[in-house]
Point group: C2
Chain length 220, copies 2
């Protein structure tokens, strides 16, 4: 029987590559797609569904919009404008959603326990460490321990790309033939990726570093 893994799938590059990686390892993957009131949730959500259907894996949509409604972040519909600039700029801290990955992971863990999956996974990576504390390696290790103990030694948290960055992820993704044309990265609520927000800038950089062109369209 295949090993079950529960994955948080956002529809972006990172988690889509994790999905491809897990499938290449013959895992039985269950995807969770979270709605949490972000400006780009609609387009991101559509992308996540397309990627899950491309790989023919089961997925579950969890609506946490009400839970996140009181949270402070410009990424949310209730927050201010999405800043433009480089991903590591201080201004990008406006896009932090307090506790987001902790919350997603905790739900993945509960579901993993329920269905007898021994692992949960996220696409977090080193490239995000400057601004996003819940993408750092120290957090990853501590959360893995907390989840393992909190699930009575049943569930482990894996983050296959915690030692690399977005360019490294794209490098592996290309060899795994990830359908990057289906993914969505932009933080804005526009149908076409803005090309200017930190998330777009980081995505474009990752493709450039691999000397290949990005297959999605940008407004700028």
């Amino acid at each position: 029987m295949k090993e079950k893994v529960v994955l948080g799938l956002s529809g972006g590059l990172d988690s889509s590559t994790v999905l491809a990686h897990l499938i290449s390892q013959s895992k039985d993957v269950y995807c969770f797609i979270f709605l949490y009131g972000s400006k780009h949730n609609f387009y991101e959500n559509q992308a996540a569904i397309k990627v899950a259907e491309y790989y023919d894996v089961s997925y579950k949509i969890i609506d946490l919009s009400d839970t996140f409604a009181g949270f402070k972040s410009n990424l949310l519909k209730t927050g201010g404008d999405i800043p433009e600039g480089h991903y590591t700029d201080e201004s990008m801290s406006q896009t932090v959603v307090p506790g987001r990955n902790i919350i997603f992971l905790s739900i993945l863990a509960g579901y993993a326990w329920t269905i007898g999956a021994s692992k949960i996974a996220l696409g977090i990576h080193q490239g995000d460490h400057a601004i996003y504390s819940d993408c750092r390696k120290e957090f990853y290790k501590a959360m893995d321990t907390a989840i393992y103990l909190g699930t009575d030694n049943r569930v482990e948290f894996i983050a296959p790309y915690i030692e690399t960055d977005k360019a490294g992820i794209v490098k592996e993704g290309i060899s795994l033939q990830v359908p990057y044309h289906l993914t969505r990265t932009c933080y804005t609520d526009q149908p076409l990726a803005c090309g200017k927000c930190g998330s777009c800038v980081e995505r474009k950089e990752a493709f450039e570093k691999n000397n290949i062109s990005d297959s999605i369209l940008y407004k700028f």
Copy 2:
């Protein structure tokens, strides 16, 4: 300015006593009351509201029923019968809700960060360690570390009763004059506490050990 603490308030003995304890320490307490599809959620929820109003603290109700809908547990409306017997019996493991405290804590942490609270709290205690892995001291320590790192060193997790049991909590609660008559402990969906489920049995024991009578009514 008073220190802010975000507390998970269930309406039971433990979290109600934590609330009294925090107020006695002059903390500014924000309560989160979670709906998660348990059989006793309606009565528990009403109790939590009464306790929060008794202490005149602000509270927020978070409905996670849809999120927990696929989780396996006899405590949930979607599960089987609530077992009767002692709290530490193996049969009580049917009442475990996978990842429940991890999920609650992660949401408390995100909200604490948002409002600038330096602490989140739960009423977990040693007496529950046999069955509930997310009430154990090792879990508490690991989760505290994960939350602290995941919130960029902003939020700590405190569990004032992690070193004691329910009898010890009731002992302090009596001296703090906690309105235990407003609380709800029973796991069943009946208006009157059943007196037979593990949770009722543990509650009755805690009062007996303190040589005082419980002020709520039981069916048996």
